[in-house]
Amino acid sequence: MSALTISDNVRKFLHYTAWLTIVLLLSACGVKQVVVKGEFPSPLVSKLPLTLGVWYGDDFANHEFFDETTDRAESDWKVTTGQAQVQMWDILLGGMFENLVHLKTRPTADSRNQSIDAVLIPHVEEFQYALPKQTNIKVYEIWMRYRFEMVTNGGDAIAEWSMTAYGKTPTAFLQSSEAAVNLAAVMALRDAGAHFVVNFARVPAVQEWLQRTTKREHD
């Protein structure tokens, strides 16, 4: 009777193990989804005494990247960065400028807000990723190219420039590929913030605008 019970338990165990193996094999061929989540610190800078408006277009606020693989052994990837983008840029710009105002629409001559000195409109132009399987290096990488438009409160162009951001994270024991891609994306967003802080005032058109605006504020 006891031998029969053990035999039944072994059969049950093997049955579940076989199902688990099938599920694991099938899951390898599905879509791997990452909704990027992270914490972003406020920049340690002296705030510019200006009021900046920011408008996140739908493409930016809901930004996602989808890569359909051609290799049947690999998975498709869907990386959603929109929410994390808005979170990071809100914290960064809030730490760089005295006041930050969110706009619901793109500024136009009709919707002019006189209290705003300028409006920043960020765009994600390109997004690329690389996995250790593809590169044979033990690193997950994310690369992004941004385009920034800076316009007056009436929508006239002040400056337009591009900027890249890069994040990488080494593979770690017991870390899933989704967690590693998330971390690489967070690193790329942090890098975007660092790049923006360092280079914002060096963009020639922004530099001219800053000189004009701060002089006007002083007068």
Partner: protein, 218 residues
């Protein structure tokens, strides 16, 4: 008691061998430890290589603070967040001249004073797989399962720590650690991993040398 001995014997038998070398070059060692000041250990990640693993940085920090509880090691992430964006891979000072330029920024100088950081230790390098081979296959069926074969791999760790004295704004020492180890998995029905703890050994070697530098007790 027997169980503990058996477990210890199993751990020893199931570990692969690691050879390690630690070199140091100290210019100006504190005679009585670092006192009330804090130390931060940061990984170098600006290059195109994989960058220093965060796990390794955490391991060295834990090794130091566990052996000498009076040493306050600021966590890497906490330090990076509180000085964001000035110690990110793109912006981190690569030389003491860069550091001097950085602390001319008033908010940075103020934050560094708040953190009371005396030593900044930069660790560069990584652990990489240099060789692997063999083969092992596992099968599972209604009648049972098992593995058969033999797999092996070799890891090599190479790290260098550069110690900056923030108060004097000078480099006060360098510690270099290399470790090499080969791991095996022989399998006859059950795979038996014999793992060489290469990164852990390098961490202990680096931690011990840094401890000798930072602590008055060692």
């Amino acid at each position: 008691m027997h169980r503990v001995l058996l477990l210890a014997a199993a751990v020893v038998l199931l570990s692969g061998c690691v050879t390690t070398t630690v070199d140091e070059l100290i210019f100006n060692e504190p005679t009585e430890g670092i006192g009330e000041s804090t130390v931060v250990i940061l990984g170098r990640r600006h290059g195109s290589d994989q960058g220093t693993e965060p796990d390794f940085i955490t391991c060295v920090g834990k090794h130091i603070s566990k052996r000498d509880k009076s040493i306050v090691v600021t966590g890497e992430v906490d330090f990076l967040n509180s000085l964001y964006p000035w110690f990110e891979p793109r912006t981190a000072p690569l030389s003491l001249a860069d550091l001097r330029k950085l602390i001319r920024r008033e908010p940075v100088a103020r934050r560094m004073a708040e953190l009371n950081t005396r030593y900044i230790i930069w660790i560069g390098g990584s652990t990489e797989r240099v060789d692997s081979g063999g083969s092992m296959s596992c099968t599972i069926g209604p009648g049972g399962g098992g593995c058969f074969g033999f797999a092996y791999w070799s890891d090599e760790a190479n790290y260098e720590a550069v110690i900056w004295d923030f108060a004097d704004q000078a480099e006060v020492g360098r510690v270099n650690t290399t470790a090499f180890g080969q791991s095996y998995i022989p399998a006859i029905i059950i795979p038996i991993p014999l793992i060489a703890p290469v990164q852990g050994t390098a961490c202990n070697g680096m931690g011990d040398k840094l401890l000798k530098f930072l602590s008055g007790k060692y």
